[in-house]
């Protein structure tokens, strides 16, 4: 029986070291390999061809698709939209989620109910979100009516049809849907911070703000960094909600790289081209992820690394 202590013999049992964990990992490897890795590899392969999905795969164009994608103004716009969403998420959504998590961290009556409410949108499907919000944002719909009734009529815009603001409208919907998720993550992290620390600070006369700034935030660091990471990756891959609400319109004003992929690659049957977009998207995520883990999460993973050695 291979034990986890460091007295395991080397050489011959190197195979035995591998075989048991391998067996445990086998089902995951099979499913993951077949349904994730293989399609990724195939997408990379398809991207080298000019292919409409129907004819045989014989029009090899090498990296031509990639050149076209990177030079396409709509793709560039879409990439900018992704960047915008990521920035807005980092500077608006995450602080907001953190703020609420801090408030919800104390025990008070109705706290569970509030927590439920804040998380509810995350649980609702993107399709339903798109349907309901389209109704609400329709000209003369509930949002417009609500604004008028409180005297904010002058604020009314064509929320989904005005090209200059549709991205921001979408960000509002995105925040509505996903901030609860980040809030829960923060809450979980907050609950891991011992109360005694806060109490000690209070006894020492620290104000709430000082407590938060000097004690809670630093201790919450790893949690925040995870949340930010998920937020960035989510922002780059954004598809479902945008497609369900605006399909990337009007005139690509709300296109993301992923909706661009789907629109040109599948709807317009340029499958090779679409696959190139997919690979580019993947590479972007990869670069972001590696850079993030290396630079930002170094101190978190350092601990994990040393633990891994045991």
């Amino acid at each position: 029986m291979t034990a986890t202590s460091s007295t395991a013999p080397k050489a011959r049992s190197r195979w035995r070291e591998w075989s048991l964990p391998f067996l445990f990992m086998l089902p995951a490897l099979l499913v993951y390999g077949l349904f994730v890795l293989v399609p990724i590899a195939q997408a990379a392969w398809f991207s080298l061809f000019d292919w409409n999905g129907l004819e045989p795969l014989n029009d090899f164009v090498g990296l031509d698709n990639y050149a076209r994608v990177l030079n396409d103004t709509v793709f560039q716009q879409a990439a900018w939209h992704n960047a915008l969403i990521v920035l807005l998420s980092l500077f608006v959504q995450i602080p907001f989620a953190l703020w609420l998590a801090l408030m919800l961290n104390n025990r008070f009556r109705g706290r569970t109910l509030l927590r439920l409410i804040f998380f509810a949108p995350y649980v609702i499907s993107e399709v339903i979100t798109g349907v309901v919000w389209r109704l609400l944002l329709y000209p003369g719909g509930m949002v417009d009516q609500g604004l008028e009734s409180v005297g904010g009529g002058f604020l009314i815009h064509e929320w989904l049809a005005d090209r200059s603001i549709v991205m921001f409208t979408l960000f509002a919907v995105i925040t509505w849907k996903y901030f609860g998720f980040h809030m829960i993550i923060m809450l979980a992290g907050l609950q891991g911070i011992p109360r005694e620390l806060e109490e000690a600070a209070a006894i020492d006369g620290a104000s709430r703000r000082q407590t938060v700034r000097s004690i809670i935030l630093p201790l919450l660091g790893p949690t925040i960094r995870v949340s930010v990471f998920l937020s960035i990756i989510g922002g780059v891959q954004l598809f479902d909600l945008v497609w369900a609400t605006t399909r990337g319109g009007p005139a690509n004003a709300s296109a993301t790289m992923a909706t661009y992929l789907f629109d040109v690659g599948i709807v317009r049957t340029r499958m090779g081209y679409g696959s190139a977009v997919a690979v580019i998207l993947f590479i972007v995520c990869l670069v972001v992820a590696v850079a993030y883990v290396r630079l930002v999460m170094r101190r978190d993973t350092d601990g994990a690394m040393t633990a891994a050695e045991n």
Binding site: L54, E55, D162, P250, A251, A253, T269
Partner: protein, 424 residues
């Protein structure tokens, strides 16, 4: 309320269908199963397709029909995906021509020339031709009509307009009159893009005429004078801000709803609008008797004729792996007895079956059919006449023009570039 009436009509129709004994009975051996990819998401089409399927199954024991109903865009996505994976659907919605050609070239579609030999004479040749490629038949039409200018008589009267415009300049003047009267001139579903394409395509047809249109489709050069001018005329219209609020994001259904609620005076749409504007309206009645239909105005100095039409049809094509019963089912749908039932709904479907016209009770539909039959030239929807690649690009480019993102020159340039890219 009207929903119950419709239900009653459908009940009656199903009784009639049940009575169409002998038609559609096919010798089916063992269990045969096939899918029907159908885009009728609204009644009466929705219920009708299922009823027709049930009736056919009743007469052909051992046959099982799965009706898959999806909205237009989702349906196109689905068909696309199936084809790309090499497993074409059995019976699927098709608009013919360029897109069909792509599917045929990939070997996804059955050649049904022999199977339809017995009904060929019963169906309008113009409609059949949309599904013919190199002399072989690859689909059966069930709807064949044209795009026209729908208008609201009451709203026009409010603005002091007596009759819909017959020339483009007159039309622009009327748009101004409507705006001055505080009425939204036009309802458009630019969010779905193809309703926008209709405007440009019709203008191009009017300005360039048959020759220019056929030329452009054949050569992929859309930079010709006619197309640029069409873009410029469209831009003149767009600059007048004639559309309903939120038009850029509006879907086709929302567009129909706006018109059906009496919130806009004009709408350029296909013949199905007669039913759609009813179905999508808040009241369920549409604009009732205020509904009028006119042909698209001529453009001064244009080579196209008033009798040139832009439109197309719907049909079903048969997938490569489908059983013979699938073809029989589609033939059943357009057979005179069944077609007459469908036509009697007057929801905008114009059956191409000879004799179906007598079941048209709506005067507007009758007029549409007449103009269709008199057409000197019929230009098929551009996104179907070309290919999914190019068609999608055309739709997007026109939508860009309307959104003010592209100039007419840029628009035609983009389209030509896409055509070149799609060609190789």
């Amino acid at each position: 309320m009207s929903r119950y009436l419709r239900m009653g009509a459908l009940a009656g129709a199903s009784a009639i269908l049940a009575g169409t004994l002998g038609i559609g009975a096919v010798v089916a051996q063992d269990e045969v199963e096939f899918d029907v990819y159908d885009l009728h998401t609204v009644n009466p089409g929705l219920a009708f397709t299922q009823m027709a399927a049930d009736a056919f199954m009743g007469q052909n024991p051992g046959v099982k029909i799965n009706v898959v109903t999806l909205e237009n865009e989702a349906l196109k996505d689905r068909i696309s995906a199936d084809m790309a994976a090499g497993s074409p659907p059995d019976v699927f919605q098709s608009w013919g021509s360029g897109v069909l050609r792509q599917q045929v070239d990939a070997g996804m579609v059955q050649d049904i020339t022999d199977a339809v030999a017995d009904i060929k004479d019963e169906i309008s040749p113009g409609a059949m031709s949309l599904y013919q490629l190199d002399g072989r038949q690859y689909g059966i039409p069930y709807n064949f009509g044209l795009v026209g200018m729908w208008y609201n008589k009451d709203l026009l009267a409010e603005a002091g307009i007596e009759a819909p415009a017959t020339t483009w300049q007159e039309f622009l003047d009327q748009v101004q009159l409507l705006k001055d009267a505080g009425i939204t001139p036009i309802s458009i579903g630019a969010g779905d893009q193809w309703p926008a394409m209709f405007w440009w395509a019709y203008l191009a047809t009017r300005i360039g005429g048959q020759e220019a249109m056929e030329n452009a489709i054949a050569t992929g050069d859309w930079t010709g004078e006619a197309f640029v001018r069409a873009g410029e005329e469209l831009k003149r219209l767009v600059d007048m801000d004639p559309f309903q609020p939120g038009a850029l994001a509006a879907t086709h259904d929302e567009q129909q709803g706006v018109f059906g609620n009496g919130e806009a005076a004009y709408m350029l749409q296909g013949q199905w609008a007669i039913g759609s504007q009813r179905a999508q309206s808040a009241s369920g009645q549409g604009i009732g008797n205020a509904l009028g239909w006119a042909q698209f105005p001529t453009v001064e100095g244009g080579a196209g004729l008033l009798t040139d039409v832009f439109g197309g049809g719907d049909g079903y094509s048969i997938g490569r792996d489908a059983p013979p019963e699938a073809v029989e089912f589609v033939k059943y749908l357009v057979s005179p007895d069944v077609a007459s039932v469908w036509q009697s709904f007057n929801d905008g479907t114009l059956l191409p079956t000879n004799g179906a016209e007598q079941y048209i009770t709506d005067p507007i539909l009758a007029e549409v059919v007449q103009k269709r039959n008199e057409a000197t030239f019929a230009q098929l929807y551009l996104d179907q006449a070309t290919s999914p690649e190019l068609g999608g690009a055309i739709n997007a480019a026109v939508a860009d023009l309307i959104a003010g993102v592209k100039t007419p020159e840029e628009m035609t340039q983009t389209i030509t570039e896409e055509a070149a890219a799609a060609a190789d």
